[in-house]
């Protein structure tokens, strides 16, 4: 405990907490958490960005709360406590947004509720915050939120570009005049299965670039 207290705020270990989820420990492609929302909200880039940001905030704060309380939380009801913390935070965020950032709150609409059910939150609380101090937990939350956001942005970029021909609402495909060559938007990209295929492709590319991520064959 004593040597941990002396650890600088941005030690190599803490930095790793922040960066590992971007690649080697990505919540979606490696931990396979939060897939459901990755399918639902990646049709357009903008909602994906807003969702990524809000998940990052909520997972970071709830990680801190649970890490601070970790020695007082009875093990038998820890899942309920985690859920209460997440739900309270999400509702508070929703109420504050409705009062002071109405436009953002309208953008988010159902997403706010969806954050509660995002597996990344419970996953990180259970796997990390219950066993670590608040500061590393905060970094872990930020890292995982960013890792989740990264995949969301990649998937929604391709879905919006190839499915609707726009980027953040800007009609890119129309501006470069590709439609005159007979090109058409692919409707499959708008539908949820395409998100699954794209996430699959990302997992494939990531693992073929970095062999160490490939799980060993089970005999």
């Amino acid at each position: 405990m004593s040597n941990q207290e002396k650890e600088p705020l941005f030690s190599a270990r803490n930095i790793r907490l922040l960066t590992a989820p971007l690649h080697k420990d990505n919540p979606i492609t490696i931990q396979v958490l939060g897939i459901c929302s990755a399918l639902a909200i990646t049709v357009k880039l903008k909602p994906a960005l807003v969702m990524a940001l809000s998940v990052t905030i909520v997972v970071a704060i709830s990680n801190v709360v649970i890490a601070a309380l970790r020695s007082y939380i009875p093990e038998r009801i820890r899942i309920i406590v985690q859920l209460v913390v997440i739900a309270t935070l999400v509702i508070m965020v929703d109420q504050i947004l409705k009062a002071y950032a109405f436009d953002v709150s309208k953008q988010l609409s159902v997403f706010v509720g969806l954050i509660i059910t995002n597996c990344i939150l419970m996953g990180r609380l259970e796997a990390f915050a219950m066993a670590n101090r608040p500061w590393p937990s905060f970094l872990d939350g930020l890292g995982n939120g960013a890792g989740y956001g990264l995949i969301l942005i990649i998937v929604s970029f391709f879905r919006e570009l190839l499915g609707s021909g726009t980027i953040l609402g800007y009609p890119l495909m129309e501006k470069i005049g590709i439609y005159s060559t007979g090109y058409e938007n692919n409707g499959l990209f708008i539908l949820p299965p395409m998100a699954l295929i794209l996430v699959g492709l990302i997992i494939w590319v990531q693992r073929s670039k970095d062999r160490s991520l490939v799980e060993e064959k089970q005999s």
Partner: protein, 233 residues
């Protein structure tokens, strides 16, 4: 991890629930005035958008006072009902009442060029939740001047596209009446023809929302049938 007694677990849960309850009720009560103000501004902003006046949250109240001239409530026979404030009528509650007893709000507005418009509120069902909007009609009580739609929780990128300008602008200059019969505007899957004055393109991937929107237009506007026909010129 430490073992905790049952007594501790009960005490912990009780304290936790009380803290959470206090926090949430405080947040709800303290933020309520600000939230209600936002909803009111939003309503004014939507109405202004339906008459093609781009408003933001800062100038919506001021612009509303400048452009919206009059508001009143009518019944389904087109008679004006006294002592009901049109702005505070909650359409969803009215829709639960029998057709003859519903209060139907009408707002009148004046454009920069001096043209008179009427604005009618809309409320219906989307795929996941309520959808609503405003429609403004020109003086002939037939031609659509502008519309604005909004929704509570339609799927982003699919049904939620109903509140984009691309979708809303398609309604401009469409007609509600075919000669003397009320036909409303249909949302057509696969795209409406160029010269179709009663049809607009549906949202791809948002069939149920599009259908809900079409029903909303028909159900809300047919109640004004007598009023609109009585005032056509």
């Amino acid at each position: 991890m430490r073992q905790f007694s049952n007594r501790y677990i009960f005490a912990f849960s009780t304290v936790m629930v009380v803290i959470v309850a206090v926090l949430l009720s405080l947040a709800a009560t303290l933020l309520q005035p600000a939230q209600e103000r936002n909803l009111e501004t939003e309503k004014k902003k939507s109405m202004l958008e339906s008459i093609r006046i781009p408003a933001n949250r800062q100038n919506a109240v001021e612009l509303y006072d400048r452009y919206i001239k009059e508001s009143f409530v009518i019944n389904s026979s087109g008679e004006i009902l006294e002592d009901v404030d049109a702005f505070t009528v909650v359409l969803r509650n009215e829709q639960r009442k029998p057709a003859g007893q519903q209060s139907l709000p009408v707002f009148t507005a004046m454009t920069e060029e001096g043209g008179q418009l009427i604005i009618l509120p809309l409320e219906g069902k989307g795929l996941w939740g309520p959808i609503n909007g405003y429609i403004s009609l020109r003086q002939d009580m037939n031609t659509i001047y502008g519309v604005t739609f909004d929704h509570k929780g339609e799927t982003p990128g699919l049904g939620a596209e109903i509140n984009t300008p691309e979708f809303e602008n398609m309604f401009r200059d469409k007609k509600l009446f075919d000669d003397q019969t009320f036909v409303s505007v249909k949302v057509i899957k696969g795209g409406a023809g160029e010269d179709d004055v009663h049809g607009v393109d549906a949202v791809s991937g948002g069939t149920i929302t599009s259908k809900g929107l079409e029903d909303m237009l028909f159900d809300c506007l047919i109640k004004y049938d007598d009023y609109l026909r009585g005032n056509r010129n």
